[in-house]
Amino acid sequence: MTLIEDEPITLATPAPVAAGGRRRRLRSRMPPWWFVAPALVVYGLVVLYPSISGMVYAFTDWSGLGGKSFNGLANFRQLAHDDAARGSVRNTVLLTVTILFVQNGVGLLLALGVHALIKSRALLRVIFFAPAVVSPVMVAFLWKYIYDPAPDAGLNGILGAVGLGSWRQDWLGDPSIALWSVAFMVIWQYAGYSMVIFLAGLEGVPPELQEAAKIDGAGTFRRFRYVTWPLLAPALTVNLMLSTIGGLKIFDQVYAATNGGPGYATETLSTIIFKQAFVYGKLGYSTAIALVLALFVAAVSLVQLYYLRRREVTA
């Protein structure tokens, strides 16, 4: 099922041992440098050079017009006192943690359901995964209607129709729930993506193990807990990494659905970075926030990778 699962069978070329002539021939088996050069040039121009410039600009008062001068840690001090920016850190973390748990929880349940011998499994798999291939901006516009505050529209309309009219909300307009509404929309779009990765993991669980545990008298839950779950560790690693990085960088859905509002209720690091640069023209400050985001993403993904990979080894 997985495309590169033969990875461990690495047939490394034998180390060169013999005399000079033979070593020269082996060395010439290495591809020439120009195989890597074009990729390196494009990568350097598009990613490395601008990122390094960004790290430098983060310590300047650059506004895009005229010159820029270094102002030390002033941008970071401003960040510590900027309510909108501090709120965006909080919102980003809340969104990420919510998406991390709920999206992967739902994805796992869907995967277990679709993995069973039900007749509609192939169709359900396609249905649940489909939103993941659509542009997040378009999904956000669709959900903007579902969250329409009018009593007979979207979700409120459904609630009214089933007699739960008192549950109606201004889903995106009420600052106390707007962030959760955004999270729900993201989870709706990407739960199927988590499902697909868990499914690939489930397909790698040998049926003999399930069978053996069953004969030994293990019930459904114990079979899952002690046979399936440990073997899902690699799929879990991939899913947690993907949803963490996706959550920390989230921009499109928020920008299209709420543009950070109401007030600053759904502002995230990425929307603040965008606004500081392209609305207020504070390019130095904007890149300083971007540097904070970069450190965030790097730290969290390295720590996660370390812990989850270790878990995989013991599993």
Binding site: M1, T2, L3, I4, E5, P8, L11, T13, S28, R29, P31, W33, F35, L40, V42, Y43, V46, V47, P50, S51, I52, S53, M55, G113, A116, L117, K119, L124, V126, F129, A130, V133, S135, V137, M138, F141, L142, W143, Y145, I146, D152, A153, G154, V196, I197, L199, I245, L248, F251, A256, I273, F278, S286, T287, A290, L291, A294, V297, A298, L302
Partner: protein, 275 residues
């Protein structure tokens, strides 16, 4: 699982189908409203469209200039994919076969790009592209996507090539082929499974990407589908039927391609990420 299709499986089937129906409600609302005129949308937005009209669709198609946007997205996605497969596979072949400090160092340098959020270089790169006069052009976007997606592409290709025996290429070299020939004629065809994954994952990312095309192409004639839809929705925000017809039309191409290739797409998403 060797379960018979017993009562419990039947119950599970019902639960899963109910979940799918609830899951699809937003899609039903989208399609139902796109088929109604303004009056019906206002009076009964969620009812089944008993008198469907396609007027919204023809109006959305022309007022959103979706034809142009689809062409722009297709050109940018296709050319970027060709560049990514070409540059990525050559580079990965070098990195996988160059098993010394240089090869390892360069590999780590590429991997760094997976973690770096692009916002860090967003503004310097924007100025750079502006200085080169490439804002509002296909070239600017294509070079951007090639660069930004190379780390992930190189990562996928390198993992795959490392697991591939080098005997095939060595045999070709002994038979007198050059490195270019050995790679293109012998190795590259063996990379087909991972090339499929690379193409699918990058295609979905590039086709749906929003922020960069908004910055580089916004307001120009080269706008991609998500940017065009964003502008269109902003313009007709009060006309839900029209907006939804536009959304359906804009999402249709990728949905159709997904349904046609669903086995490969799902495999690509599931398999490519097992790094």
């Amino acid at each position: 699982m060797r379960l018979r299709y017993g009562f419990r499986t039947f119950l599970l089937e019902l639960v899963m189908i109910a979940a799918a129906v609830a899951f699809l409600f937003p899609v039903y609302a989208l399609v139902a409203m796109s088929l109604k005129d303004k009056q019906q949308v206002a009076s009964s937005p969620l009812s089944f469209p008993t008198h469907p009209t396609t007027r919204n669709y023809s109006a959305a198609w022309s007022s959103a200039s979706l034809g142009d946007a689809l062409l722009n997205s297709t050109v940018i996605t296709a050319v970027s994919l060709i560049a990514l497969v070409a540059l990525g596979s050559f580079a990965a072949y070098f990195l996988a076969r160059c098993q010394n400090r240089l090869g390892y160092g360069l590999y780590v340098l590429f991997l760094l790009g997976i973690i770096l959020p692009f916002q860090l270089g967003m503004i310097p790169l924007f100025r750079f592209v502006d200085d080169l006069g490439l804002l509002g052009s296909y070239q600017g976007m294509i070079v951007f996507y090639t660069g930004i997606q190379l780390p992930f592409t190189v990562f996928l290709y390198t993992g795959f090539i490392r697991a591939l025996p080098s005997d095939y290429a060595n045999a070709a070299l002994i038979d007198g082929a050059g490195h270019l020939q050995a790679f293109t004629k012998v190795v590259f065809p063996l990379l087909r499974p991972i090339t499929g994954t690379v193409v699918i994952l990058n295609a979905v990312f590039i086709w749906n990407d929003f922020l960069t095309p908004l910055l580089y192409l916004g307001g120009s004639s080269k706008e991609t589908v998500p940017v065009r839809v964003f502008a269109f929705v902003g313009q007709y925000v009060s006309d839900n039927g029209l907006v939804f017809a536009g959304l359906v039309l804009a999402a249709l191409p990728i949905i159709v391609i997904f349904l046609l290739l669903q086995r490969y797409v799902i495999k690509g998403f599931a398999g490519g990420l097992k790094g």
